[in-house]
């Protein structure tokens, strides 16, 4: 779809905006509607739009496959390690109070960290699922079968 000038220009304008809005939803989640989950989906949507316009190869050059996989796990790890940090510093699991001196600031820091973990995981998992569907067609064609005919026959 690289040749369609309208699509390319609109996407060039939209992708940064969507990413910015994703970050806003991520880090402003305590004051306005939003949080890690929504932000992750928004961020992944920006990447998917990029892939739809510029093709999968370019998209994977921007964020390599391995990075997506590792980020999916790193998000959950960040969440768990914030919980364990509370235990190490003398609280209960996922207790944010020991993280900082002021209890309110500690709660806020804990929420932001945890939500960031959720956001990273959601973004990379959504990217991964889309990526698998997108690559599946290429894989099937590489395996030498025409999908539509295959469906008719079976």
């Amino acid at each position: 779809m690289k040749d369609n000038a309208i699509l390319v220009i609109v996407a060039r304008f939209l992708i940064p905006l969507v990413m910015l809005f994703g970050l806003y939803v991520q880090f402003h989640g305590e004051y306005s509607p939003g949080g890690g989950f929504q932000a992750g989906v928004l961020f992944a949507a920006a990447w998917i739009l990029f892939v739809l316009i510029y093709g999968l190869e370019t998209g994977l050059r921007v964020i390599p496959l391995r990075v997506i996989y590792s980020f999916a796990c790193l998000g959950v790890l960040l969440y768990c390690s914030v919980g364990l940090l509370g235990v190490i510093l003398g609280g209960r699991f996922l207790d944010y109070q020991p993280l900082l001196a002021s209890p309110q600031a500690a709660q806020q820091a804990g929420i932001i960290l945890v939500e960031f973990g959720v956001g990273v995981t959601v973004a990379s998992v959504v990217m991964m699922v889309f990526l698998q569907f997108a690559r599946r067609r290429a894989l099937s064609q590489a395996a030498g079968l025409e999908l539509d005919q295959e469906q008719d026959r079976s």
Partner: protein, 178 residues
């Protein structure tokens, strides 16, 4: 009302692409409904996930399958019966629902008031949804994140291997034709 129209259209249409688009409209309408009900977080999720990502994923899956639903002859009576009974039970249950917006409803009597009163003194943040999600109920959210990761791994495991069985069948067909 609009929801009903769109929902019926989703069921009736045979073109899967059209159904996916109609479903996105359906999700967006529901998101609008959530905004009207002051549930900003849910509305944002519904708009982003229901109308955005799931439509994209369905479209991506549609590239792998033929674009039209197969015509089925006749109707399945047990299915109709189950749907009718469930629908009737739900309609009956609606009459037992507590009055909308009444402060004495059970949902406002349990832990709700504690969260409403304590969120600001505890955390100093105004969004109660974020506070409940990430602090009061943070273990639930951790489970949610792990579920998402597991789902991603499952999709990866299912779809990343090349389609071997079908390749063999295609090879056999090629042999027969030769």
């Amino acid at each position: 009302m609009f929801l009903l129209v769109v929902g019926t259209a989703v069921v009736l249409t045979r073109d899967l692409l059209k159904a996916a688009m109609l479903f996105a409209i359906y999700s967006l309408t529901i998101a609008g409904l959530f905004v009207v009900l002051d549930a900003g977080d849910v509305a944002l999720t519904e708009a982003a996930v229901g109308a955005g990502i799931s439509t994209i994923l369905i479209l991506a899956a549609l590239t792998l399958v033929p674009g039209r639903e197969r015509q089925q002859k006749g109707h399945s009576l047990p299915a109709l019966l189950i749907v009718l009974i469930t629908g009737a039970a739900l309609v009956y249950a609606v009459s037992d629902l507590p009055e909308f917006g009444n402060p004495n409803n059970p949902v406002h009597q349990h832990v709700g008031p504690y969260y409403v009163e304590q969120t600001y003194p505890d955390m100093g943040i105004p969004n109660m949804v974020a506070a409940v999600l990430a602090s009061y109920r943070s273990i639930d959210t951790m489970g949610e994140a792990i579920v998402i990761l597991t789902a991603g791994i499952a999709v990866y495991a299912l779809l990343s291997v090349p389609p071997k069985r079908r390749r063999r069948r295609a090879a056999e067909n090629k042999d027969e034709s030769q």
